[in-house]
């Protein structure tokens, strides 16, 4: 049972939050809120807006498609220049590509879907193996062993004027 004579002084009831200094409090709150909005809104936009830039898309040129093998994947290394904020720096990496029947190709990103290590194609087992946590993907990019749950990202390609091009998004 609650003792009505000894209430907790730290928890006043809703109705008792009336104060003769209320006007002073509201004045300060309005001024402080105004100052906070006046500086906070521009500063918030200033910090957030450049982070919302749309992702960059680039077609990377990998030479003639005839050089690609049809019995396994070949590592295709790339390097392109990318503007990051105010600095232009080279982005380096590689993708895995192979020739398929009927003049088709398959290109996989090398990024493991578990924790973003680079997967390596193993010709002996016919799988992609991730060195970090022994995740494995089959030749269709599906996870077959270890922690990865999602398939490898398949990249869009096109063949133009006998050059093999892969679309990279950053």
């Amino acid at each position: 049972m609650r003792n009505k004579d000894v209430p907790s002084p730290k928890k006043p009831s809703e109705e008792s939050r009336v104060n003769r200094n209320r006007r002073e409090f509201i004045t300060t709150a309005v001024l402080a809120g105004g100052a906070a909005l006046l500086t906070g809104i521009p500063l918030g936009i200033y910090v957030v807006a450049p982070a919302m830039g749309k992702s960059i898309e680039k077609w990377i040129d990998f030479g003639s498609p005839d050089a690609l093998p049809d019995d396994g994947f070949e590592m295709l290394s790339y390097e392109f220049l990318l503007k990051d904020g105010w600095q232009i720096l080279p982005q380096r990496g590689f993708v895995w590509a192979r020739k398929m029947p009927e003049n088709k190709f398959r290109v996989f990103s090398s990024t493991c879907t578990h924790l973003a290590c680079n997967v390596i194609w193993q010709p002996e087992t016919g799988t992609f193996e991730c060195p970090c946590h022994s995740g494995r993907f089959d030749s269709d990019g599906r996870p077959v062993a270890g922690p990865p749950a999602r398939p490898l990202k398949e990249l869009t390609y096109k063949v133009e004027a006998d050059t093999f091009k892969v679309r990279m998004t950053v």
């Binding site: 004579d5 209430p7 006043p12 009831s13 109705e15 939050r17 300060t28 006046l38 500086t39 521009p42």
Partner: protein, 368 residues
């Protein structure tokens, strides 16, 4: 303390209380200490706003500086590109840089005015010596902020101004060369120097400034304001620091931010060409606040150079710091302090004349 007694009980059974004379607010307890602080009623006199504006400017400089750092890399070359990015790619970036630029200029002008007013009122005298000395220390810190901050955009003006300043410091006998090396982290104005200036500008100096401000405010609160010169007793009934003075500061902050933002919207702060250490044609022009020192350096040449670079500025600093103890006049009124007033007026006149000479030398004579 005996527990408060309920005065009414509402329909749903909750009780209302009256504690002492005021009713309870949710935040009363944590803010009780704040509400107990009182200051002299004179704090809200209409003409006592310069200190409040200075505080608003310091807050504004801290705020704008911290946010400018979001898009800044302290690397020669990249530093310029990052400032360019702030100005032209980040929304409000140009305003933010402009606010930072105008705020420090205004801060310096008003700090000098604050000092002059305190001097005329005799408010540096006993028992307020330490209020004055902490204020002089804050004023002395401002040039360090400017020297370290000017280099950061890595543009021609900042780079070459730094060269001039470093060679002036280096010309001080015995310690000068070593001072430059310690300041820059070596003989070069390169990546090590830029990183040092950056860290000094955004970490060490602001911490020092905050500390000195705390000391300054402590002594202002402890010793209060000096009597008014017109002999009228200032309103000395105590008023609540919160909310009266806090509200006043908030109003001053809002007005200051708005005016400076408008100023920078119409006259954006400039970013020159990227710094080129191989350029031998660029001549940096001294800024308004350093014109008199520059002129001293120009007047004393050869073996007398040390007078302009070290002795005179050093004596000036000593005079400012020691003023409360040097002044032995019988009272606070200017009429009772003729010697000090005349000495300071002469000093101020010499500084103004030197500044004007420097201005005409660097920016040309006014048209006839």
């Amino acid at each position: 303390m005996k527990p408060p007694e309920p005065i009414t009980t509402t329909k749903d059974g909750r009780q209302r209380f009256r504690s002492d004379e005021t009713k309870t607010l949710a935040l009363n307890d944590p803010f009780a200490w704040l509400k107990r602080i009182t200051v002299a009623g004179d704090a809200c006199a209409w003409n006592r706003f310069v200190g409040g504006v200075l505080l608003a400017l310091v807050v504004l400089l801290f705020l704008s500086g911290a946010f400018l750092a979001f898009y800044y890399s302290p690397v020669p070359g990249a530093a310029y590109d990052s400032v360019d990015f702030t100005l032209f790619s980040a929304p409000f970036g140009s305003i933010l840089k402009g606010v930072h630029h105008y705020a420090w200029n205004l801060l310096l002008v008003l700090a000098i005015f604050h000092l002059a007013r305190t001097f005329v009122a005799g408010a540096y005298r006993k028992p307020r010596q330490l209020t004055w000395i902490s204020g002089v220390a804050i004023l002395g810190l401002l040039p360090l902020f400017i020297i370290t901050g000017d280099l950061l955009p890595w543009d021609q003006r900042g780079y070459w101004s730094t060269q001039v300043r470093m060679s002036i410091i280096a010309s001080i006998p015995f310690a000068g060369d070593m001072a430059v090396r310690i300041l820059q982290g070596g003989a070069l104005t390169g990546i090590v120097a830029l990183t040092r200036f950056y860290v000094l500008h955004i970490l060490f100096l602001p911490c020092l400034l905050a500390l000195l401000l705390a000391v300054h405010f402590y002594f202002v609160a402890r010793h209060g304001f000096a009597e008014r010169l017109n002999g009228k007793q200032a309103a000395d009934h105590p008023i609540a620091f919160f909310p009266r003075v806090v509200n006043r500061w908030l109003v001053l902050f809002i007005v200051t931010v708005s005016l400076i933002a408008l100023l920078t919207y119409y006259w954006p702060s400039p970013l020159g060409d990227p710094a080129d250490p191989t350029d031998s044609t660029y001549v940096p022009k001294p800024e308004w606040w350093v014109l008199f020192l520059n002129q001293l350096v120009a007047i004393f040449k050869g073996k007398w150079a040390v007078l302009g670079t070290a002795v005179i500025p050093g004596l000036l600093t000593l005079f400012l710091v020691g003023l409360p103890y040097l002044d032995r006049s019988p009272g606070n009124r200017p009429a009772q302090r003729k010697t000090v007033i005349v000495a300071a007026a002469l000093l101020a006149a010499v500084m103004i004349v030197l500044s004007l000479m420097g201005y005409f030398e660097h920016f040309g004579l006014p048209r006839q």
